[in-house]
């Protein structure tokens, strides 16, 4: 195992295709604490990395239905209990008239769920991350394609992992301090 001061290794690749092949190799080696860093989402990379589908959808479903339910509940309570008004002789709980606001509240809840789910699952906002100690990582938001493997991974071995990354087609491999 590496010493505590090392976060892991960061390897740079020249294009999405080499990155994807390297990711498939790292996945097949059985690593679990590793990641790819890219300037844009690459189709098929989730499969190459062995990642399962995102659960953001569950947040959207629950909060969307919750928003809609709250919207209807508010209108029901206001119209029947808090401030009942007779409008055009309709019943106090004339639910068809409450559909537009129920729908809008559902969309608001769902949108909030999408953002909250994304932030929670992606671990954002976050003040700092050791990967930012790497010299080249700034290019991950420009034109660089990277794979990072954490030293904390049980499969990590400073020498072997380094040579794995180098043989997988990396143009640079650098150690990242924690």
């Amino acid at each position: 195992m590496a010493d505590e001061k090392t976060y892991g290794l960061l390897a740079e690749y020249s294009d999405p295709e080499t990155l994807m092949r390297a990711c498939a190799q790292v996945r097949d080696e059985g690593f679990s604490r590793w990641d790819a860093h890219t300037p844009f989402p690459i189709h098929g990379l989730a499969r190459a990395m062995g990642l399962r589908r995102s659960w953001v959808s569950a947040f959207v479903l629950v909060m969307g239905l919750g928003g809609a339910a709250l919207g209807m509940l508010l209108q029901w309570w206001v119209s029947t209990t808090a401030y009942p008004l007779v409008i055009s002789g309709k019943p106090f709980f004339s639910w068809p008239a409450f559909i537009p606001i129920t729908f809008e509240c559902g969309v608001l809840g769902g949108a909030a769920g999408a953002v909250l789910g994304f932030l929670l699952l992606a671990g954002l906002p976050r003040h700092h991350h050791p990967i930012f100690n790497a010299r080249r990582i700034g290019r991950a938001t420009d034109d660089g394609f990277f794979v990072s493997i954490e030293a904390a991974d049980p499969k990590f071995d400073a020498e072997k992992t380094r040579s794995l990354l180098e043989t997988s087609g990396a143009t640079h491999v650098e150690p990242v301090t924690a």
Binding site: E12, S14, D15, P16, E17, M20, A24, D35, H37, T38, P39, F40, P41, I42, H43, G44, A46, L51, R53, S54, V56, G64, L74, Q75, V78, S79, A82, Y83, I87, S88, S94, A97, F98, P100, I101, F103, E104, C105, V107, L108, G110, A111, A114, V115, G117, F118, A122, L124, P125, R126, H127, H129, F132, I137, G138, T141, D142, D143, G144, T171
Partner: protein
Amino acid sequence: MATALADIALADIDPVDRRPALIEGAPTFHGITEAVSAPVEWTPPLGWYVTLGISLSFLALFGVSIAWLFWEGVGIWGNNVPVAWAWPIVNFVFWVGIGHAGTLISAVLFLLRQRWRTSINRAAEAMTIFAVMCALVFPGIHIGRPWLPYWMLPLPNQMEMWPQFRSPLMWDVFAVSIYGMVSLIFWYLGLIPDLATIRDRARSRVRQVVYGVFALGWRGSFRQWLHYEKAYLLLAGLATPLVLSVHSVVSFDFAVSQLPGWHTTIFPPYFVAGAIFSGLAMVVTLMVICRVVFKLTHVINPLHFDRMARLILLTGSLVGLAYGTEFFIAWYSGSEYELFAFKNRANGPFAWAYWTMVSCNVISPQVFWFKKLRTHIPTLFVVSILVNVGMWFERFVIVITSLHRDFLPSSWDYYRPTFWDLATLAGSFGLFFTMFTLFVRFLPMVAMSEVKGVLPQAHVHHRPD
């Protein structure tokens, strides 16, 4: 690495899917970053300061108009009886309409996998948010007692009074404000990766911290991208029915009433088509200017204008069909009041407004049947402005000509706007353009990460299992 990619020979035809390349000149990933980040990082050109100065003066006019309104009351406007809903409502509907193209381009075209949207979606979303801001001012200042707009919200209060949820006006409060919030969320989510790009390129500590805070610590990690993409897809899925519902609800403000000219079932689809039509025209107007001023002509190129012009032609023709249908139904209904309202539109005292509307909205976009004119920038610019004029007049025709002559001839009257009506409208453009001018200076106006994703070299053709 950048040079390695540049070495790959790329024509303007994508070598694999044989479609025209979406971005001209085969740029590298880094080239896109440079081109888009430049306006945010350079000292802006003189033209930017001039635009900001002019926009700010109109914004000041807006402030003065509203201050005078609050001091003196709605009597400074031309509103009268029977035209009690006059310019402020025309302006409100106009601005909400402009705000529709942003979400259409971002969400609907995303779901339809129209990849050309990536060059313009960011600016269109920003435009949406600023247009909704302008729109929301008008109902607020139109209520006559500007210290009471909170009565529109379901807030507990000492009077133990609550809103009346069966009213379309309440639906409108919810629809427009939720539309504003969801558009803002959608826009911000899309901005996160690009804010991180600006953060990573920052030379000064202040820039690094400010953009860093708003980038939330984004590190381009694919485990983050996975959730990001899912969230973006679901937001697009939620925003699509939302954008269709918002202008439908705005149209209910009119359609649920009993006034001839307003009380029609065609209003929701007709309003939605008109809103998208006007919004696309505004996107074209803004993009024609921005691409030249900020040297983005290869990113926002004739291909994008061609696609937008087709959509303008489609929605413009839909609007034309709606105008025709309204007349047919007015005759077919056998209701003499309904028929009178429409005859009065085309021949009455406001016929000039009606025919301005028809010429701008139905006739002018027909030039887009020709491919040459769809990519001819001066034509696009002129037509886009004509369409916006026409769409403003559409709302004028709907609101004012329907109200000025209703059932009872003894209450008929003509409507004339005052100086303050004009000043408030011009001032709202000041608010819009001030926000947009600041946006293009401080935020990346093209979605870099999305544009990079549609470059030919972004696609992986041989996928390992």
